[in-house]
């Protein structure tokens, strides 16, 4: 497959609804052919607006959207050939499952036997054969979701948009649907643009994730990089758990920096700080800080346990460390378990490569 790296292109797109506030600011985003890209962000961050502009239900205030090299800003939604899965499925309640799936094919004036073949194929893809004559109201939430996915794919669109499609499902069903959608994507290689505010959903499913905040893409990278190497404190905060220290850079050299806190000094990797005296927020993942580390680490401090919370596979320990009483540690529940008690003093260490000095919060 010759992958076009700019299959979908947002070129300097701005969007405003009221002429006062920009919902999307200067969006520059390339989506490769066959890619599963997720737009992740809190509500009101502009991710759904981007999706609606791509689908054609909203027009960009400025800039262009290109699909396979063609400007599509002036093409109405029904001529774009983009499949879409809606938040509440948007199945046609007065049509059977078969008629729902046949709708996009019938408006394209396909032959009856061809429609039958395609509907059958799409239904087997979501393992719903035999449900043709059911009405959407007779299906469970998960089944409706699968019909919606099948309907968005049945007419072989180049791009499929999914707008928080799993939001209404319960946790277990959501997880199994995540894998199902991921497998469908892998097997047919369609380009998927997925919108969600659920970070674990984004991390499990996507090739790349665009983190939106305040109308801008904060970071665009693959899931592991996003988690391991957040480029700013919003991304660090939004993706996964995060311990933070606010302080001031006291020394900087060779990619490392010393950060002076209110009571102590820590060593961190300099990411968005450039010079001495800058304010910064240092971010550290809870599982990267260890209790009584056996090996030598360049940050070693002692703190007092404030709270111990049992979580089954791991225990969370809240520690007062360097004046931060919200410092969280994740301790795996292995056989050689430590005795952790409230008010106990413990030694905690981490490597400066895991501590990232980002922009101040």
């Amino acid at each position: 497959m010759s992958n076009n790296p700019e299959f979908v292109k947002f070129d300097k797109v701005d969007k405003s609804y009221d002429g006062k506030v920009l919902v999307v600011k200067d969006l520059q985003l390339d989506i490769a052919e066959g890619e599963f890209i997720t737009m992740l962000g809190p509500s009101g961050s502009g991710k759904t607006t981007c999706l609606m502009m791509l689908a054609g239900f909203e027009t960009p205030t400025n800039g262009e959207i290109l699909l396979d090299g063609n400007i599509i800003s002036n093409i109405p939604p029904h001529k774009r050939g983009i499949g879409m899965v809606f938040q509440n499925y948007a199945l046609f309640p007065h049509m059977t499952v078969y008629e729902n799936l046949a709708f996009p094919l019938r408006v394209r004036k396909m032959q009856k036997d061809e429609i039958d073949k395609k509907v059958d194929k799409a239904l087997s893809m979501v393992s719903l054969n035999g449900f043709e004559t059911r009405m959407p109201g007779q299906l469970s939430g998960g089944q409706q979701q699968r019909v919606a996915v099948a309907r968005a794919l049945v007419f072989d669109p180049a791009v499929v948009l999914m707008d928080e499609p799993l939001g209404a499902l319960d946790k277990n069903l959501r997880e199994s649907m995540q894998y199902e959608i991921k497998h469908i994507h892998e097997s047919i290689g369609v380009t998927v643009v997925y919108v969600t505010h659920d970070q674990s959903e984004a991390l499990t499913m996507s090739n790349r994730i665009a983190v939106f905040n305040d109308g801008k893409v904060q970071q665009l990278s693959n899931p592991s990089e996003l988690y391991e190497k957040p480029v700013n404190s919003f991304v660090a905060e939004f993706i996964g758990e995060n311990n933070t220290f606010n302080g001031e850079v006291s020394d900087i050299s060779g990619g490392k920096c010393k950060v002076k806190l209110s009571n102590g000094e820590i060593l961190a990797t300099a990411i968005s700080v450039k010079s001495k005296g800058e304010k910064t927020t240092v971010s550290l993942r809870p599982e990267r800080a260890l209790i009584d580390p056996s090996e030598k680490m360049d940050n070693m401090f002692s703190g007092k346990i404030e709270e111990v919370i049992y979580h089954g596979d791991h225990t969370r320990v809240r520690v007062n460390l360097l004046g931060n009483s919200e410092f969280i540690l994740k301790v795996p529940n292995s056989t050689s378990n430590l005795e952790l008690k409230v008010k106990q003093d413990i030694k905690i260490g981490w490597n400066s490569s895991d501590a990232r000095a980002l922009d101040p919060k």
Binding site: G56, F57, P77, H78, G81, G83, M84, F103, P104, V107
Partner: protein
């Protein structure tokens, strides 16, 4: 024995069903008491009057009660030739009793409706009885036949016999411009006197067209109401409901001001040069006026059910239709429109039923063409005091509505109606 062992018992040994009934009994009584006032109200204001109306429309016991002996004697009469002496004697003794009670006038009027000329001959008979001119020792038949030649005419005796059954469908036949002929068969009235059939057809026609106009105008308004942002839709909703807050008569009167030949609308047409000043179109005292005024008055009844249904249709359905490749029209026609059918059904049924019984507005705005069946009912209630005929026509109207309701149920299903 085996059936008893199958029965599920509670821990106290009482059968579960009995125990459940006992537990639910209190709730059932409570629920019934809560709706009892409404049931009573419905009975007094709805079931009872309609029942009363029905009895009144078929009731024909007046003559039966006035001439009991006559009808008894007439049982053996074949009704082809003049009746026997006994019938005349029985009639004479019945009539004499009426004269003594001075109620014979009612009988004369009633029989006169059955056969013209009865009023004169009963009056003549009454006068003779009062003056004691009838010799009861002689043949009554001979003496009565001598009073007036009509008494010797078999048709008049046939007419009396026709009033014998305590119930009659004559009023219903009259409502359809038909009557019982002398031989008891059903006949049509003369063509130039078939007034009721014209009125029925006109009523149906006006109700039908008003429903169509209301639908054509109400659908876009309801759609706008359901899709506009809240602050605009509230304003529009007030505009839709505004007519409800104005008296029906005031609205009708304002239409008269607007539509008359020298009225505002015509003035405007003349001003913009659409029509010549000496050639102003008549928009009132004809069907145009009736359609305009009734459509405006009944429009909210179409808009509200449509609105309540459209409000529940998710906008993402139209979007889904478009994103799947349907043009805006296809998305509307295949997705949106079928989902609004319950509202269309409810609105049309409501408007049609209200329009079919409309009364004041067509009478004021419609002129000669504005006389509908309801006006006829009112006329017989107030002017001719023929309440049984008014009741019969009222029931015919009611059954017409029930038929429409039944057809609607067959076509769309009443369960699909949504009023809000």
């Amino acid at each position: 024995m085996s059936s008893e062992t199958k029965q599920i018992l509670t821990t106290d040994g009482i059968p579960l069903e009995v125990s459940l009934k006992k537990a639910e009994k209190k709730n059932k009584i409570k629920a019934f008491l809560l709706v009892a006032p409404l049931l009573l109200f419905l009975f007094i204001t709805y079931v009872f009057p309609i029942g009363e109306m029905f009895t009144r429309s078929v009731d024909d016991r007046m003559v039966t009660n006035m001439l009991p002996k006559t009808f008894k004697a007439m049982e053996s009469w074949d009704g082809k030739e003049l009746p026997q002496e006994e019938v005349f004697t029985a009639f004479y003794s019945d009539f004499k009793l009426l004269v003594e009670n001075e109620t014979q006038g009612k009988l004369g009027q009633r029989l006169n409706k059955e056969k013209n000329g009865f009023n004169t001959i009963t009056k003549k008979l009454m006068r003779l009885i009062k003056r004691n001119k009838i010799d009861e020792s002689q043949s009554i038949k001979e003496q009565i036949m001598k009073i007036h030649k009509r008494w010797a005419n078999v048709e008049y005796w046939q007419a009396i016999k026709r009033t014998a059954p305590p119930y009659t469908m004559a009023k219903y036949l009259k409502g359809m411009d038909m009557y019982f002929a002398a031989d008891g068969s059903i006949a049509q009235v003369d063509e130039d006197r078939r007034i009721h059939r014209i009125l029925w057809l006109r009523t149906l026609e006006i109700a039908l067209f008003v429903t169509i106009f209301c639908f054509l105008m109400g659908y876009p308004i309801a759609h706008l109401l359901a899709t506009l942002p809240m602050k605009y839709s509230n304003l529009l909703m007030i505009c839709v409901l505004l007519p409800f807050w104005t008296s029906l008569l005031v609205r009708t009167a304002s239409w008269m001001i607007l539509l008359q030949t020298q009225g505002v609308v015509n003035d405007f047409f003349v001003m913009i040069g659409l029509v010549a000043d000496d050639n102003r179109p008549t928009m009132m005292y004809n069907k145009v006026g009736t359609y305009v005024a009734m459509t405006q008055i009944l429009l909210p009844f179409m808009v509200l059910p449509l609105y309540s249904v459209m409000k529940t249709i998710s906008p993402s359905l139209m979007r889904a239709g478009k994103s799947l490749g349907g043009t805006p029209f296809v998305a509307f026609w295949k997705v949106y429109f079928p989902l609004t059918i319950p509202g269309i059904g409810a609105g049309c049924l409501l408007v049609f039923i209200l329009a079919i019984g409309y009364y004041i507005t067509p009478a004021l705005v419609g002129g000669a063409s504005g006389t509908l069946i309801s006006n006829q009912i009112a006329y017989h209630m107030k002017a001719t005091l023929d309440w049984s005929f008014a009741s019969a026509m009222g029931l015919m109207l009611l059954s017409g509505v029930l038929v429409i309701y039944w057809v609607y149920n067959k076509l769309v299903g009443v369960d699909n109606i949504k009023l809000g």
